[in-house]
Amino acid sequence: MVFHRSLVFFGAWLFVALPLGAQFQLDIEQVADQAFPKVIDDEEPAADANVNGARHGFDIERNIDAWVFNRFGTQQGAKTHLDKQLKMTIDGIARECKLTDVQKEKLRLAGLGDMTMFFAEVEAIREEFRGENDQNKINQVWQRVQPLQQRMQTNMFGRGSILQKASAFTLNEDQLAKHRQVELERQRFAYRAAVKLLLTTIEKSAPMKSTQRQEMVELLANTPPPRLMGNYINYYVMYQLAKKQQQLNQILEKPQRDAMQQFIQQGKGMEQFLRQHGYIK
């Protein structure tokens, strides 16, 4: 009987008080206490709570793992993935160049070096921000974490890695030439795809004839590919587009060039960003 009455009382207060909003200076907690026992204790806000709402702390360390390891979840998950990627990379080289067991082992150790260095960098960032819960430091953390996230999402044992450098003194001349040819072909394929994709986006603003499109593809695909084939490859293509203004004048009409200006301007401003992320030296 007591429960029924308190339930009705609580329900009625909720339905009338909340829609009326400010008209009721209702202490919902007092009403709830009468109807139901209080089971949750509110935490006191942190003493150094900032005005942007970090009242209950913010675990930056956990966020570092989430950002770097992304869909792999934890460091262990990422390690498992990288182990597989290393095996696939060495199998790929072995397929092209017919490696001996000693050569495979040397390359495997070099790849382990890449992984060790990568996880050491992650740990260094964790160490630097250990215990931090200030949400205002998010930007700083993100700047540090982003290049690592990029490497996690691409092939860690590609161009610029210890494994690739080790291949220079592990493989003999013929093997090295074959391996470099295959890597160059892979890079050219990916770069050409990125060029075509950017052109499809540009065509939404500046439609081109077939002949113009083909000339644009040849113009951009023959520029030097980036050092890294990551998620900002489209910015690298824009950067190259911005350097080809003279050739654009010959291929495109003025209205098309005008419509393309935003891409060109964006490409011009990308140099620092691309250098910072390892796409150019």
Partner: protein
Amino acid sequence: MMRSPRTYLTLTGWALMALWGPPSLPAMPPQAAVEEATVEEAAVEDDFFALDAVIEADQKQTAEDARKVAREKAAKGKAAKEQADQGAAAKAKAAKVGAAKEVRKAKPAAKGQAAVAKPKAKRAGALQAIFNVFQARPAVAAAPARALVDSSNVDTVDANTDEELDDVEKKLRPQGRAMLPQLRPQFDSICREELRFVHTVCNLKRSEFDAIARVARRTCRKALLQTVKVQVRMQQGWNGRNPPIYPNTQGMMEAALLKAVDDELSEARAASYRQEVLARQAFRREAGVESIVASLDRQLVMSPNQRADVLEPISEAWEDDWQRNVEMLVNGNNYMPRLPNEQIRKALSPEQRTVFSSIPQNATFFSGQPFGMAWVRGKPKAKKLEDELQFAAEEDP
């Protein structure tokens, strides 16, 4: 005197309203917008007085469930009795005696449990009903689940004339109308450049241009209104079904212009435009497929032969809607569209298959961005396109 919770609630509600007046509920949206809203949204807005119905429905459901359980028990008992009759007499007698003992033991416990369970179920049902409405979830039986369909069923603008489009624009929600000035330059730019392209390929006369431009502008406006509706839904959130998808503006323009060109121009000139559009579509497909393969290659480290083997089934399975996923793929989103997994896996080694299985694949309902990076900045063009172009003479064949 004991009354039911429903009675207490109703009396208290009426008493409080008599004292303070009716609760100031959020303003009811205009009729058209209510019709536009989903069943669930309408249910939430009008649901204050449906609480009685909720509790009644809950109690009915509880009673119905109890009757169902009793029927099932009776059926089971009958079957057990028949089984016992068919078995050996001694076994059946022993089973009966044993069962009778168990029942005698369990009866007091069951009685106590049942006594507690009934009111608990009643209270739990009513309380859940209160919190369901309080949390603005549908308090009536949910509408039958709709199959996940392309959002063109929800956000499509079903208008083919300027008057109908005016009507749709008037019925937009205020936040939608506020977006129009921001988005219109983008769509005007697309329309402008597509018309210029038609003129470049077909060398239009003024009269031909006017007819084709009417179609282009109407289609562009339709795409704009559809985009606005999607933006509004994205801002307000949706219920998980029919997620918002931006319209394929370029596809809509191409289709509309192809038809207009067929209607207005000679076969030869229309054919030259059609050839250009088909070439553009083929290029888009090529770019999309190669981008997907390149992204897979980064993760799977494929040989040149494997790349070719994987490229073919993806190219055959390509859908224009994948373009949205592909653009996001390049910007760091690892969500692939739904790929032809069986054919791809045939080309891969066991390790590659394991890694391939871990790559997330999304249905093509990913909303993406309306234009990828192709946003127009700056002021809309002051000069009309008609004033910029040089048209062929009307007398020309």
